[in-house]
Amino acid sequence: MDLFEYQGKQYFSRFGIAVSPGDIADTVEEAVAVAERVGYPVVVKAQVKVGGRGKAGGVKLANDVDEVRRHAGDILGLDIKGHVVRRLWIERSSDIAKEYYASFTLDRPHKSHLGMLSAQGGVEIEVVAEENPEAIAFLSIDPVHGLDLATARRWVHEAELDEVAREQAAELLVKLYDCYTTGDCDLAEINPLILTPEGQVHALDAKVTLDENASFRHPEWEEFRATETDDPREKMAKEKGLNYIGLDGSIGIIANGAGLAMSTLDVVNQVGGSAANFLDIGGGANADVMAAALEVINSDPKVTAIFVNIFGGITRVDEVAKGVLEALSRVSIAAPIVLRLDGTNAVEGRAILAPHLNDRLITEPTMLDAARRAVSLANA
């Protein structure tokens, strides 16, 4: 789950990481109120989960109440790469002496944590990594042992942060690592991490991705959930616990397991079709889940055929069959459904469906056959 900048900053604050004083505003008047409270000059920042908002006019400096009013008015409702700005973050403007970069993420090939620190912040780290990799000090951290202050001190030295910033930065990095681990982040990134002319180090931006698997120990994440994705289909799917990604094609896909779902996309593509979505009903899905999946697909007007590809393992095919029938009894499914059913309890599942098969509810013996049938139906 990606957080908005303001949420990331609030999350950082819980771990003692210094950020600029500020608050959120959903209207021009709220923006003015926050600005008056934190003191001028302020920065008015669009809250969108997409990069490049600065270039798109989503970040403005305001020196007085009139400027706040004007900028807040301009930015609220602005469309930044398809993301409409509905909320602002207003914070006290910081004088910047230097901009650094700091982040933690999982280094999958090395099965350890990877810290990245650079004295060249404020620009895209991918660009720095490409053009001048030596400007990034990489730190591999054993998850068992974590990051201590001594190592952080070596690290800020190696990264050649300005001397006046080093001790504060080292302490901040230890806190950021704590936020990353105790806070169950997939990514905790500060870009830029700034040094002010007064010699203070703090986070001027916050990019945080939370690991949904850790929600069980973070009841406080509930507040972040309210502001999640705008896409109504994805929202609906999420509410029902489905793993759904909207795509542009015409064939609705339902499969159990991410691999099989991806493979289904591939096969549909290979026989000349294109998928309307990726939808993994997960392991152990029951009739309810299957019915919900069909409803989500049904809400997509692009879909002209549905391909249900199930290989039962922990998921039982008889449950899937029941779910299909339940969905058909609950709502009117617009597109024809092609099913391919194999694996655990496949015989039972096929038997449940048998009496209901017709030219809009079809089974096929193999994945390829089913894909071909779905494509021909979609194009009919």
Partner: protein, 294 residues
């Protein structure tokens, strides 16, 4: 022969008294797996359809001589269960649990490597392992596997593992062992571990490898195959048509920029001499050809 597990492997089930543990544990026993005990703290002394339940792994190992454990517990308890298994003397741990926090996986993996270097963890979030006719630990339907070899299967994807078994068994091609390594951020066992074991197993004559987009494990495996593998390998990589930058189901399946694309993986594997196929059916057919020509 088979890899990692065989007909003599004694297995305990951590979480045997839970719904899933009971279902799969009994199913594995029905398949012929030597399920010799279960572990549920506080339920020691009871039994599940004749399988004795112990309070701790240590007790279970002492009483049964088990060397393998099947961990079927909720995500919040999985790390502790895995470490308890290692500490209790288990050397092969299969964890099917889905939804374990990435940080828990990272700590658990490294703690095993550092403190219990002789312990192998398979998973988490994997379908498990089946050596057809001998041992089945996990959630794979035993009836889709065919005993007698000569193919080894290793797969990062759960359902595609079944699909691969199915494609081969339907053509009468058996498997020595089928290992589902799972697609989580920090898998305990990786492609190379399995490829090396298959290379060393005299009964395995060819290997099917099912990968997917994201990460670089398939590329690393390709490098290893190029240098070490003498047996033919057939591969399929799922996600050719996946859009970049979106998580496809599990954390592994995400493309960042040009890295981790199916095409990059297929190119690396082809360069290592692997037979690269574009869907599971084609991979199955290719393997049939290879096995028939052996």
């Amino acid at each position: 022969m088979s890899i990692f597990v065989d007909e003599n492997t004694k297995v305990i089930v951590q979480g045997l008294t839970g719904g899933q543990g009971r279902f799969h544990g009994l199913r594995n026993r029905d398949y012929g797996t030597k399920i010799v005990g279960g572990v549920t703290p506080g339920k020691g002394g009871t039994d599940v359809e004749g399988i004795p339940v112990f309070n701790s792994v240590k007790e279970a190992v002492a009483a049964t001589g088990a060397t393998a454990s099947f961990v079927v517990v909720p995500p919040k308890f999985a790390s502790a269960a895995i470490l308890e298994a290692a500490e209790g003397g288990i050397t092969f741990i299969v964890c099917i649990t889905e939804g374990i926090p990435a940080h828990d996986e990272a700590v658990t993996y490294n703690r095993l490597v550092e403190d219990y270097p002789d312990v192998r963890l398979l998973g988490p979030n994997c379908p498990g392992i089946i050596s057809p006719g001998k041992c089945n630990i996990g959630i794979t339907s035993g009836d889709i596997a065919l005993a007698g070899g000569p193919v080894g299967i290793v797969s990062r994807s759960g359902t595609l593992t079944y699909q691969a078994l199915h494609e081969l068994s339907q053509q009468g091609i058996g498997q020595t062992t089928c290992v589902g390594i799972g697609g989580d951020p920090v898998p305990g066992t990786n492609f190379i571990d399995c490829l090396a074991a298959f290379e060393a197993d005299p009964e395995t004559k060819a290997v099917m490898m099912i990968g997917e987009i994201g990460g670089s494990e398939e590329e690393r495996a390709a490098e290893w195959i190029k240098l070490n593998m003498t047996k033919p390998v057939v591969s399929y990589i799922a996600g050719v048509t996946a859009p970049p930058g979106r998580k496809m189901g599990h954390a592994g399946a995400i493309i960042s920029g040009s890295k981790g694309t199916a095409q990059a993986k297929m190119d690396a594997l082809a360069a290592a001499g692997v037979h690269v196929c574009v869907n599971p059916t084609e991979a199955g057919q290719k393997m049939v050809e290879i096995v028939r020509a052996l």
